[in-house]
């Protein structure tokens, strides 16, 4: 038997109806044409399939179809937003604003911008992980071209007030990019109403395929982008490369499904999270990371006093698949920079586990998890000498 999967924030399996839609685009009988081929039915069919998927994603996120630019994932969408906007508007100024708790797919492009001569202000969220709109306002200068603040944090699940931040940015004439890779299916997403100028999405966080994402670019706001990948001019010249029909179809189907299901799934996820949280809190010496009032119930990030992070992971790994902080960071067993940014000491940051729940999580799995984690923590505390005088 495979371990209980509680790492949905790292990635999700592809949902059955999504897989079925993807299959229709592969193989000799499928919609296998190149969407860029304008001279025959195979191409026409692929192109209209791509456009249907674009409309699905647009509808699910509250955007217009022509605001969607397909990318290879949220990492590329973030890079396109950050480099595309800063390059296009470099003459306005060379300053951008972001926060210390963004995903690496924002922070690393920012570091590159610094190497290219930009000034980047890194806001420090409060202890709960929230970046207040007034913090953004205070950081804006006439030279500020772009602000990038994520929607749902991938480590602690905290939800930022992006609409509030959008108002502040609009007032000052700075563009706002929001990394919403973790949002779909967890919180309401409404691109048009949010007032955000650019928003990144990824399919594989919400039961779609890996390797496809989208950048939403507001037409209303009229934000312009410099292309970053050049070629045959797909995506109106903003992002070249043959469109992968089955991939965008998968994203379209996954987003439509999420839009239909998420509200209905929420109470169940909340119950499961509460069950997990209560079960583990009973251990004592367990601290929750992130503002619980402003978080999605799909994520629960806990620090366990008296245990070391890697050992905790190793102890639970045969039965429970979780991670410390960002999925993609776990190859690198350093204490989470996100928790460090929230003022957690190294030990608390290091001894944290991120439990992320999803569509296929069951109550039985939660119970197994509680029991396995409890055992592991008690075992490690015993080895560490907890409660033994002199230890």
């Amino acid at each position: 038997m495979r371990p209980v999967y509680l790492d949905y924030a790292a990635t999700t399996p592809v949902a059955a109806p999504v897989l079925a839609a993807m299959m229709d685009c592969l193989g000799t009988d499928g919609v296998f044409g190149n969407p860029g081929s304008a001279s025959h039915e195979y191409g026409d069919c692929a192109r209209s399939t791509v456009e249907r998927a674009r409309a699905q994603v647009a509808a699910a996120v509250g955007a217009e179809a022509d605001e969607i630019v397909w990318t290879s994932g949220a990492t590329e969408a973030n890079n396109l937003a950050l480099f595309g906007v800063t390059h296009y508007y470099a003459k306005r100024g060379k300053h951008m604003v972001t926060s210390r708790t963004e995903h690496k797919a924002v922070l690393d492009p920012c570091a590159e911008l610094v190497r290219r001569g930009w000034r980047v202000t890194y806001l420090v969220p409060g202890a709960g992980g929230i970046v207040e709109p007034h913090q953004v306002a205070a950081a804006l200068t006439p030279e500020t071209v772009l602000v990038s603040i994520m929607h749902v944090n991938n480590e602690i699940g905290v939800v930022q007030d992006v609409a509030g931040i959008a108002q502040v940015c609009a007032r000052q004439g700075a563009w706002l990019h929001v990394d919403a890779a973790q949002s779909m299916g967890k919180v309401a997403v409404d691109f048009a109403r949010s007032g955000v100028d650019l928003m990144s999405f990824s399919a594989h966080k919400v039961y779609g395929p890996k390797g496809v994402g989208a950048l939403c670019v507001s037409r209303r706001a009229g934000v312009q982008l410099a292309a970053q990948i050049f070629g045959v001019g797909q995506e109106r010249g903003v992002r070249a490369g043959t469109l992968a029909t089955h991939q965008v179809v998968g994203m379209g189907a996954a987003f439509e499904l999420a839009q239909t299901l998420w509200i209905g799934e929420l109470p169940r996820i909340k119950d499961l999270q509460q069950r997990l949280s209560q079960g583990l809190m009973a251990l004592g010496g367990v601290l929750r990371n992130g503002d619980s009032q402003n978080s999605v119930p799909h994520l629960l990030n806990l620090s366990f006093e008296g245990v070391e992070g890697e050992s905790l992971l190793a102890a639970v790994a045969p039965q429970i698949a979780v991670s410390t902080g960002s999925a993609c960071m776990s190859a690198n067993p350093e204490p989470s920079y996100v928790l460090r940014a929230l003022g957690r000491d190294e030990q608390r940051a290091e001894s944290s586990l991120r439990f992320s729940l999803g569509r296929f999580t069951t109550e039985a799995e939660i119970d197994v998890t509680v029991s396995v984690v409890k055992q592991a923590v008690l075992h490690l505390r015993r080895i560490g000498g907890a409660g033994i005088l002199g230890a």
Binding site: E308, S311, A315, A317, Q347, I383, G384
Partner: protein, 130 residues
């Protein structure tokens, strides 16, 4: 998370975890929890004909699975080892035996340091004997 079976076994079973009491017991520790690795050995030393040897050992550890496994393994191997001597296996040998990545070498040093610290205690007690 690819620990070899020796690491898995000693990490999971943690034989010899605990503390020892008694006048023939010497305690040594190294590292700090704040820095992520801390190891403590309690070594019970018994005088044999010509020399003193470790009779029994216990350990406590806070750290990664390699540190825990190595400390447990050392505590298991300790009985019979001559008091005052070096760790029953070098840090490099431990790293190889447990197939720890090289970046763990620093952490494994705490195992050696804790052992040496306990032995220093024993030597100290020898000197202060009548």
């Amino acid at each position: 998370m690819n620990y070899n079976s020796l690491t898995r076994q000693y990490f999971e079973l943690a034989p010899q975890v605990g503390v020892l009491e008694g006048s023939d017991t010497y305690r040594g520790a190294a590292g700090s929890r704040a820095h992520g690795t801390w190891v403590q050995f309690d070594l019970a030393v018994q005088q044999e004909e010509a020399c003193a040897v470790v009779r029994e050992a216990r350990f406590l550890a806070y750290g990664c699975p390699y540190v825990i496994a190595a400390a447990a393994w050392i505590a298991k191997k300790a009985p019979g080892v001559q008091a005052g001597g070096a760790l029953p296996a070098s840090v490099l040998a431990l790293q190889q035996r447990f197939e720890a990545p090289v970046e763990k070498l620093g952490r494994l040093l705490a195992v050696e340091d804790a052992w040496n610290d306990a032995m220093k205690m024993w030597r100290g007690s020898m000197r202060s004997r009548p």
